[in-house]
Each structure stands twice: as C-alpha cells, then as structure tokens.
Symmetry: C2
Subunit: 368 residues, 2 copies
C-alpha cells in the first residue's frame, strides 16, 4: 500500500476509514453475538438487504415492520423471524421493548426516512438508512440530532463506499495514477415504470437526481476528495405518457471543485441510462461502469509522462449481488460492536442533500 | 431505407442531404476534370486534407499557401504542385489569376479563418474552411456575406457529417430505434502540448470548447435534429504548469432542447479525454466512441417495449484515415461541379458559433 499518511487521513475524513483497506480478518466474529436488525419497509431494496444479511457472519434479521401482514409473515418465515417480532407502522415504537433488535434498516420511500429514523432512534435502536438520506437538508439535520440525542449510531447506506473496486479506484486517484483530476463525467438513470412511488413528489421528494443522480454526485465527491462549490443545472419533464407527478424527468448539471476540476452529470427517469463515471486526469483517464449491485467494471489508461508507455487496466468485481449488502451490513455491525462511527454517517448524507438542494436551486426547482 | 419523407426533409435541413444516404455512384466522375484545391496553411490538419485528396477521384491539390517556402516546396513536390503555384500569405491574393485553383481549404489557426476565407472569396475561389468556422459570430456572418457577394460556395469541414457510421446513427434515431431522445452525454478533449497556438487566445480565439468541444455541441444538434435553447456552463483554468494563455482549460456545460431533451458535455485541454457521445432514449441507448479520423465505434441497446427482447448493435467503421477527408472533399467537389449547396454550409458553422458564444457567456467568459 503506497498511500501516504496524509492521504490516508483525508480518506478517513471522506468516510473511507483505515479498516476499509485492511485485509486483517475480524477474528472470532462468528463466536460473537450477531447484531439483530429490524427491517422497516419490505420493498425491493429490503430484499437486497435481507439477502445480504443472510450471508453475513455479523448480522441477522430479527424483526420486520410492514403494512402488509401476509407479506411480512412469509418473509419472516424465510428469515426465521418470530411472528411476535412483526410490527405495523402504527405499533412499531414497541420495537423499544424487543431486546433482539439492536438496529433498524430504513427501506421506506424517501419522504418517510426522517420520521422512521427519528422514531427508531427514540426507541433506542441504531439506524442504517437508505439513500437519499431524506428529502431536505432540515430533515437530514433533524435525523442526525435525533440519533445523537438518543446516543445511537446513524449510517447512510452508501454501499459503494464498501465495494472493493470503488475503493481501489479512489486509491488509484489518491496515489496520483491519473495525475491531477481535471474533469469528471457521470450519468445514472433508468426508465421508470408507471405508478412507482418514486415518480411522485409526495413520496420521492424529488425525481431521478434524488434517487439515482445522487450516485453520480456522491462519486464526484469520493473521487476528488473535495466538496463542489458551484453548480449549474437544467431540468425538463417532457412527460410523454403521464408518468410524472411533480418530479423532474431529466436533469443535467455541472459542478466546480476547489482544485479547478469540473464535473458534468446527467440523470433521468425517462430513458435507459446505465450508470458510469469517467475521470479525466493530467496523466490519463479511468472509468467505472455500473453503480449497480454487481458487475462493476474498471478500465483505465494512463502514463507517467507524455512519452512513457501506457498502463492499461481492465478489471471487474466478480462478486454477485447481494455481496455489496453483506459488506455494508458487516461494516455497520462492527461499528456497533466496537462503538465506532460508520464510514458513511448521517453527515455524509447531509452533504449530498445540501448539494442536491443547490443543484435543484440552479435548475429552478424548490425542494419541500 | 425506412426514413420518412418528412424526416428526410428534416435531415436535409440539418445538413444531411438526400445524397448523403444515396448509394448510387456518381458516374463518369473519373472522366471529369478534377476540382483543383489551394491549401492555405500547412499544419497537421492540412496533411490530413492533402492525403485525403490524394485518394480522391474528384479532387486534386494544385496550389499551396505557406509562410515556410522550404516546407511548401517539399510538400509541393510530394503532391505534384508546380513551384509557381506556391504562395506566401502576402501574395496569396494572386491566386485569382491561377486557373488551376477552383477552391481553397483554410487550414489556419482559428483567428485567421475569417480573413483568409474572405480574401479567397474575393479572389473568386470556393472555400472549404476548417472548424471552428471562426472565433466570433460577427466573423462567421462576414464570411457568409463575403462568399455570397463573390458568388462562391462556402463549406465548413464538419467531416463527420460525411462519415457512414455517424449517418447510420442519425438515421437510427430519426427512425425511432431508441425512442424519444431524453438525454445526451458527450465529452471530447485532450492534453495539450506546451506552446501550441491553440492554447493562446490570440490564435485559438477560445480554448477546448472552440477547438474540440464543438464536436460534442455539433453532435447534440445532429443527433436531436434540434437547436439548443438554454445553456449553463462552468469553466476553470487551474493551469498547473503555465500552458494556458487566456483560454479555458476545462469546461462543463448543459443544454436544453425544445423537445425536452437535455445534454451534459465536457471538454478539456488539461487531460486525456477520448471523445464519445451517449444518447439515452425512451426505448434504449446508443453510443459512438471517437470523434477522430478513424475507429468510430457504435454500440446500442434498445427494445420496442419494456418486455421485448433487446436489439444490440456493435459496429465499427473500418475505414482508415484519411478516408473521412476523401469523403468530405468529394462532397464539396460535387457541390462545386453540380452547383449545389454543401450539406455543411457557412450557416452550419454560424449556428455552432452562436451556441459557443452562449456557452461561454454562461461560463462568464466573453469572446473576442
């Protein structure tokens, strides 16, 4: 590992703590009691979390919160959750009394993250909350306060911060492989199905920027190690078929970083847009395709000086889904066991939300 | 060919005329007299043009204009140009008297395009001018006026408008293969060597946007068939090593089109940035890598509806450099012979310059 101590500290400040690079196994973890999780909301992302937990040696699903009792009972049977540990949204504050629950995972629509994070904190449970952290800066701040007041940990589910190829890419940039970062180009979007909660302002809180554009935004921050300081944006909602209820369909934006690096990004709910980022540096470029649950692919081409031979990299992370979720939950469970702050705490989600607000503002869209 | 008559007309309006798609050979062209070209400026791009002309059955190099007599004589010998047809910049107005010269190719630094186009027009010669057409809207307008007044043709060297894979890509979009265009992402840039005329404001007139970002801009226009109506931009010049004399180093910008499509683009002189565009539509996406002289690569993935099987395309144009230049010069020579307006007339260059001015303005940069 050629990373310098100073760079290392910067990585730590960015939410990439020392142990993220460590290959030393956590000894004896199978003998320790597993951290018990209550999954709140049983949609698609909850399924990934639960499958990831099933492969984890540190964590286990011990309770569920759902508005659909039948669905919850089936899932409970699958993961060995006792029926008595199935809660409705109305009575979920009773999780306080359930000693098998150490923490919750908030898998609800964006506009419900703040309420259920605060309720879980008040019930004395640590919180792993899905991204986007919430739908406004004020909500993010309230969530951080609620968790601090209750003395519970808050982690935002930025799973790529725990994904090896992403960590390798960041390290390459910090080590200067591609020289000074001059520009980043990133896109991430998808063609949304009709009647998704995410295409409503009430539940999504925003459109594709909030939901998937945040991957591009977050990537520019971990790639540069900087916070963007200026934003421009344009948003449109052609809405050719009536799918959109108050959220943007397409959004393109630019950002400027203190070093002089610039970024151009795009997101959409109206088209197939497989995610990627490309980083252009003074010594060469690198690209990672896919922000998804598997199949991340790194290519790079750089040279030490103009006349040096090119170094070429072509590498994939072969780990199938739900490995990212296992890595993520293992991190949070270790933080709980060892009383450490997660690499992606509430403050990381708050920063993205501040920038999202700036981007929406630049596009003429007011949040909330 | 499934393109509709209406779409076909639109393509014509965009500078993709009927014959661009025609596979009917121009008969007897080898028996016709070749159009004679005077190449003004003998830098890198001139070399591509001359090599392209050497492979053309419609065109021939008959004269040169250069400030370096020795260099010009070597090139003249190579292309069979008589010494008497070598001119200096001072005496080039004498090309009027040279009957072997039908047209000129302006291969000079950007800031000299306007002057030499007007001088050539006044000498009664048709003009093929390199892109960017000039360095201001006023210059572009003056060039168009000068050529009209002299009754000579003016074509801007947008070589990709004559490149088969680009034409196929445009036709796919017009035929609706990827549905409605929602977003375009494009980048094009390179790491400029020290002491290039292009990194000075005096000769370049602008930085990478003017020089190579114009490929992304022009692509968004031929891909959508629309003119952008709103612009945002950010420019930076970190200039880590003193290469930049009054031009931007990095520029990221967004554009909005009347249909609601958005575009995000980036350009740089500070990093290796191989060109590409990605078009995201309601039925799928397509991508073309490389704006260069060869090696264009089209990939696409689209489906008629959500549940239909995907159509995948992976196709390269195998034609080596200087074939694009041969195709381009053949087009202009035919336009001269047949008294037709080129597919990429001065008005096409003017439109890009108007948009470039808007982008620079959005970035807080004033041209001229």
């Amino acid at each position: 590992m050629t990373i310098s101590r100073r760079e290392f500290s910067r990585l730590g400040a960015l939410g990439f703590a020392a142990h993220a690079f460590s290959t030393v196994p956590v000894l004896g973890q199978s003998e320790q009691k597993k951290i018990g999780y209550c999954v709140i909301g049983l949609g698609r992302i909850a399924d990934h979390h639960m499958r990831g937990i099933a492969q984890s040696s540190t964590s286990t699903v011990t309770a569920l919160v759902s508005g659909h009792r039948d669905k919850a009972e089936k899932i409970a049977a699958q993961y060995g959750v006792p029926k008595i540990s199935i809660y409705s949204y109305e009575d979920m504050d009773r999780i306080r009394e359930n000693k098998a629950i150490d923490a919750v995972i908030v898998c609800l629509p964006n506009s419900m993250h703040a309420e259920y994070t605060s309720r879980s904190a008040k019930a004395g449970k640590h919180v792993l909350c899905e991204k986007p952290m919430a739908i406004s800066v004020a909500e993010c701040e309230a969530m951080i306060s609620a968790c601090k007041a209750a003395n519970v940990k808050l982690m935002i589910a930025y799973r790529l911060h725990y994904e090896p190829l992403t960590l390798k890419t960041i390290k390459m940039i910090r080590d200067g492989a591609i020289g000074k970062v001059e520009a980043i180009d990133s896109a991430n979007g998808f063609n949304i199905a009709p009647n998704e909660w995410r295409s409503t302002h009430a539940l999504g809180g925003g459109g594709p920027l909030m939901d998937v554009g945040v991957y591009s935004l977050n990537a520019t921050r971990y790639l540069t190690g900087e916070e963007p300081v200026a934003f421009t944006a344009v948003a449109t909602t052609p809405d050719h078929d009536g799918r959109f209820q108050g959220v943007e369909e397409n959004l393109a934006w630019t950002m400027k970083f203190p070093s002089g690096a610039v970024a151009s990004c795009t997101t959409t709910y109206g088209a197939s847009m497989p995610g990627y980022y490309k980083v252009f540096g003074s010594k060469g470029w690198l690209e990672v395709d896919e922000f998804g649950y598997e199949g991340l692919h790194l290519t790079a081409n750089y040279r030490n000086d103009r006349n040096a031979p090119a170094t070429k990299i072509d590498e994939r992370n072969p780990e199938p889904d739900p490995k990212q979720f296992t890595r993520q939950i293992d991190h949070f469970s270790r933080c709980i066991r060892e009383n450490r702050t997660p690499d992606t705490p509430g403050e990381e989600g708050l920063k993205d939300m501040q920038h999202i607000q700036s981007i929406y503002k630049a596009a003429g869209i007011t949040l909330g």
